[in-house]
């Protein structure tokens, strides 16, 4: 297989398979949660469940003072790599073209050197998170294989993306191919690992907020 054929394979059949598993997997996971159902709440409502749910979905973006004091490093590094991932994934023009080809939606991107710098910062933040996980005795005890796997498949596209952007080591076609392949690995594991929190987090926040909202208290 030549480098061109490899690139064509990852852009073609492999991307189709990865997209299928990602989309089907996410629908299955979300349905699995929704279809379990909840008991009807017979208590009289003292407030709006919807307003409480929406408020909590947004409010949880701001860490409360207590958690910031207890684990400031986790909060800061977590924010850095999550924001970094958002910028790198959604604001790099070649990536926007992929979303546009799938959904027809497009939006303006950022200059590539800003994306490149953000990528480096994100990789550093992810490395720091890993070191923290290994060095902190409690974190280490709580961590299992899946946590390291999720970390690995998250940082891999950033590393391959950096190599592809700077064309280091291999031919450009092979580097871009490896980058796309690493993204496909992420897409395939996404619904079946903790990565699916990107979707389930909204449901969880809503649920917590809605319970409190129904009772007329703040979440």
């Amino acid at each position: 297989m030549t480098d061109t054929e490899f690139l064509l394979w990852v852009r073609g059949p492999a991307f189709n398979v990865a997209t299928f598993i990602l989309c089907a997997g996410l629908v299955i996971r979300v349905l699995e949660i929704f279809l379990l159902g909840r008991k009807a709440n017979l208590a009289e409502a003292r407030g709006s469940a919807a307003a409480g749910g929406l408020r909590t979905m947004l409010r949880r973006f701001i860490p409360d003072a207590g958690s910031f004091e207890r684990s400031g490093f986790t909060v800061v590094s977590g924010y850095i790599f999550h924001i970094g991932l958002f910028i790198v994934i959604f604001l790099f023009v070649p990536h926007i073209l992929v979303f546009e080809s799938a959904t027809g939606l497009s939006w303006p991107g950022l200059p590539s050197n800003i994306i490149d710098a953000t990528n480096v910062v994100t990789m550093i933040a992810l490395l720091a998170v890993l070191i923290h996980r290994i060095k902190d005795p409690v974190m280490r005890m709580l961590s299992e294989f899946n946590d390291y796997l999720v970390w690995f498949v998250t940082i891999l596209p950033l590393i391959t993306g950096y190599l592809a952007f700077h064309r280091i080591g291999l031919s450009a076609a092979m580097l871009i191919g490896l980058h796309i392949l690493s993204v496909e690995l992420l897409m395939i594991l996404f619904p079946f690992t903790k990565l699916s929190h990107a979707f389930t987090l909204w449901m969880a926040r809503w649920y917590n907020g809605a319970i409190a909202g129904y009772k007329g208290v703040q979440s």
Partner: protein, 362 residues
Amino acid sequence: MSKDKTLGETLQERGISRRSFLKFCATTASMMALPPTMIPVIAATLEKLRRPSVIWLSFQECTGCTESLTRSHSATIEELIFDTISLDYHHTLQAAAGTAAEHAREEAMKENHGSYILVVDGSIPGENNGYSTIAGISNKDMLLDVAAGAAAIVAIGSCAAFGGIPKADPNPTGAVSVSDLVKDKPIVNVPGCPPIPAVITGVLVQFLTFGLPELDQLGRPAAFYGKSIHDRCYRRPFYDKGLFADSFDDEGAKKGWCLFKLGCKGPTTYNACAVTKWNDGTSFPIEAGHPCLGCSEPDFWDAGSFYKALSIPTGDIGKTAVYAGTAGLVAGAALGASLRARKQSAVKNHERVTIDDLDQES
């Protein structure tokens, strides 16, 4: 022109000044990214050279590579260099035809056995030797026969180097490249559809001056194919700033912004177009407003649409997502129903603990 004369002597006879010759050597050195100190070395080596015999075989090709070479508007001294090489056999350029032409080839092979340079353009049919023959000899037989006595082989154009357009899907002739058939000779690939004329002559000069050039993993001279079009493109700053042409006639196209969104293959294509350019350094495809097709890469004809951006998947991802969503709904509903049934069964089978039970245990 006698083959015994050196290039220096031939140049003198033709009234080419030393200044012009050194200018050519300087251009060649600069194209190969060599330091200026190498210019006298190139000049001295070339001047002392006796005209090496070159046999040019054309197989499944369109003559575009020869056209590229002969229509070169670049320094006429390059053509002279080619004159100065003893081009003993070339279908298109030689005066002789038929038996006389084949005789010239056989003579050159006999006289210069082990020292001639074999230049090939065009791919070779692998399925059936009858698809392409010359004087009743199949391309494969002629290639293997001539290659056996060659000092080195230069595969000119993407067809000879990688199979090119004849090899494009569904490859009706089973076309293969020179390197697919010849394994025991040094082969320099000079791909492109066609290759840049100055690169063809540059590779020959490099070969005559320094021997076999440094090659990349695809057998291409690193001096000319070492960097991607993207890295040396004058539109690269627009890529970096995020400024792209969205169509061939929008404001971005008029302002000369990056053509990545229009399918430019510059990021994955290694060639010297952006530096050497075409038509006496006038411009190159991207400068003319068209995306690079990636013609110097293997399988460029089948490497996805010419007008689809490199990052975009080749399949219909939207459709795949809809199919996946539907399949997910069915599978998710089935799984959900099964989980609900388990939950209800667990509720039903739940054994309640009463105060009497607790009393009994105590």
